[in-house]
């Protein structure tokens, strides 16, 4: 049976997305299969130079990062590590995960104030006239 999996990393603070990935203290790692959450764990960011954060995130097997603000160099490092980044997201973590699954992360209340133009450039995926989310379908790999 073929199935598709994706590991999502979300820096969190209390029950919300951390405002700044570069200085976030905790990372929520969500394992999903066919769009459904199958497990989750929390990781503490080690006290590293922010530029080593990309390596830490990549070493956790994370393919997609949903985060608040982040510095351009860190975004460069994440992209260079092959990680897809959905930046400038705000809100309650559970609602963000649900919105991501449903392809609704582009709704205004999930976008950090002042960042509307910054987000969404080339992020939205449309298939057969139906919005399928922020690169969501792309990450589901067969047979893993």
């Amino acid at each position: 049976m073929s199935y598709s999996v994706m590991i999502i990393g979300i820096p969190i603070w209390t029950d919300r997305i951390s405002p700044v990935l570069d200085t976030a203290l905790k990372l929520l790692v969500v394992d999903t299969q066919n769009g459904q959450e199958i497990s989750r764990k929390f990781l503490d960011f080690p006290p590293l130079h922010p530029m080593h954060r990309a390596g830490f995130i990549a070493s956790a097997g994370i393919e997609v990062v949903i985060c608040g603000a982040l510095s351009r160099p860190l975004e460069q490092m994440l992209v260079a590590s092959g990680i897809e980044v959905y930046p400038y997201v705000t809100g309650n973590v559970e609602r963000v995960i649900a919105a991501f699954s449903n392809g609704e992360l582009d709704q205004d209340h999930f976008i950090l104030p002042g960042c509307r133009g910054r987000r969404g450039r080339g992020r939205m995926r449309w298939r057969q006239g139906r919005r399928v989310g922020f690169g969501y379908e792309k990450h589901y790999k067969e047979g893993r």
Binding site: T23, H49, S71
Partner: protein, 444 residues
């Protein structure tokens, strides 16, 4: 107008007249006022900020771990001139100085907090310029080749092996060396740069290894060399192939045995220094022509980073232009917003033998000449303007005209090829083939 609105309006007028950013929060951390300077520094419009959680607006390095407002509201004590950074909507880290205080109503009840902040970007930029202290943050790229390099940098930094950086002049070899040093365990120790091509060989030897008193006529006291100054840190030897073969032998010994002898010294000194070397030509080619020692080449070619010239990563030119405009605005206290589409087309079409440094110089020159808020063709150097007559009619080939036109549309759509293809009414792959033919390179 009711009294509350009148009061609010009067308060906003006062706050807007202040040059520092000011915002206030209530006890639930929701923003209740946000002045004009705060809008300018954070990049968030007031109407989007009011009523939002302060950390979603301010996005500061201390929000989670060491919030100054929280500290003030908890202890009642103000925080004064604490230096932190915030992240603006473009991912720029903006250094600011913050101060906080309690906000009380007319009866003395604490109703929230107030935070004032000052943009330190200009001061930081000036200091960096004076100290020539640039870092990874100054490497601007979205090109595939550079992203591969970014990906390897942390791994390269973690190892303690010698690194060879090759790239034409102006491609940013020193920036990469500094990034490696900053990411390494040696980051809190010095990084010493030596341009081997700038000093005569005899002087270079004493510069690198130092000398003992009495080593030669004028050596009255011991002088530490650059290796000693870099102890525990990193030494960056630029233009390495410019050193003589005799000095190459000495350097080989340092790399092999991790020891050196200062001039006039008798005891070897142990060197705990990471060595990064760079050159603007292929060292392998110089080995083949006998201009560089083969054994030294193999000793330094442990980890090799090849930096592509700017002409091979032209998709970075708009990003670099924005970066330099932002930097020179701070350094020269100007408010230049952009370049005209004509200027961008010319800058995209140019081959930059001097690479990024040449582009930086072009923008710096334009800053001197530019009188408005946009850099025009007239602000560019003559060699770039050649081929342009009048204001908008370039005297060039059809291909060049086509290239400029496509560059202009690409710029308009922020280099999104799908949107550009849609505007031009061609398929995306047709646009891609055309761009390849015209030498316009954009990473996916």
């Amino acid at each position: 107008m009711d009294p509350t609105n009148r009061e609010r309006e009067a308060r906003d007028i006062v706050l807007d007249s202040i040059a520092d950013g000011v915002f206030t929060v209530d006890r639930k951390w929701l923003i209740t006022s946000f002045n004009r300077a705060a809008e300018q520094i954070t990049g968030v419009p007031r109407d989007e900020a009011i009523g939002q959680r302060c950390f979603d607006i301010f996005r500061a390095s201390i929000c989670e771990s060491d919030c100054a407002l929280r500290k003030t509201l908890t202890t009642g004590q103000p925080v004064v001139n604490k230096t932190i950074y915030i992240i603006d909507p473009n991912g720029k880290q903006i250094p600011i100085s913050i101060s906080t205080a309690l906000l009380k109503d007319s009866e003395g009840n604490v109703v929230g907090g107030v935070e004032t902040f000052r943009d330190l970007s200009a001061e930081v930029e000036l200091r960096r310029e004076l100290e020539k202290r640039y870092s990874f943050e100054d490497i601007i790229s979205k090109s595939r080749e550079m992203l591969k390099i970014f990906d390897t940098l942390p791994v390269v930094a973690e190892s303690d092996s010698t690194v060879l950086i090759e790239g034409e002049s102006g491609t940013g070899k020193e920036l990469v060396a500094r990034a490696i040093h900053n990411l390494s365990r040696r980051h809190d120790k010095p990084m010493i740069t030596v341009n081997c091509g700038a000093l005569p060989d005899t002087l270079l030897e004493s510069e690198l290894f130092g000398y003992k008193a009495g080593a030669f006529t004028d050596a009255r006291k011991d002088k530490p060399g650059r290796f000693a100054l870099a102890e525990g840190g990193t030494i960056f030897l630029d233009e390495i192939a410019d050193i003589s073969s005799a000095l190459q032998v000495r350097l080989l010994r340092v790399l092999q045995e991790r020891t050196y002898e200062p001039l006039g010294g008798t005891e070897p000194v142990v060197a705990d220094v990471r060595v990064i070397v760079a050159h603007n030509k292929s060292l392998e080619a110089l080995v083949k022509t006998g201009e560089f020692r083969e054994d030294l080449y193999y000793r330094i070619n442990v980890l090799k980073i090849e930096l592509p010239p700017l002409r091979e990563r032209k998709e970075d030119i708009p990003l670099l232009i924005d970066h330099f405009i932002s930097r020179f605005n701070k350094l020269k206290n100007k408010l230049i917003a952009d370049v005209t589409p004509d200027v961008l087309s010319l800058l995209m079409a140019y081959d930059y033998p001097g690479n990024i440094r040449e582009l930086e110089n072009i923008i710096e020159r334009a800053f001197v000449l530019c009188r408005g808020s946009t850099i025009n063709i007239e602000d560019l150097p003559e060699q770039l303007r050649q081929g342009v007559t009048g204001t908008h009619v370039p005297s060039s080939s059809l291909d060049e005209l086509e290239k400029r036109f496509i560059c202009e549309i690409l710029r308009k759509h922020n280099w999104n090829r799908t949107r550009v293809a849609a505007e031009l009414g061609v398929h995306k792959s047709t646009l891609w083939r055309k761009m390849k033919k015209l030498g316009i390179s954009v990473s996916d």
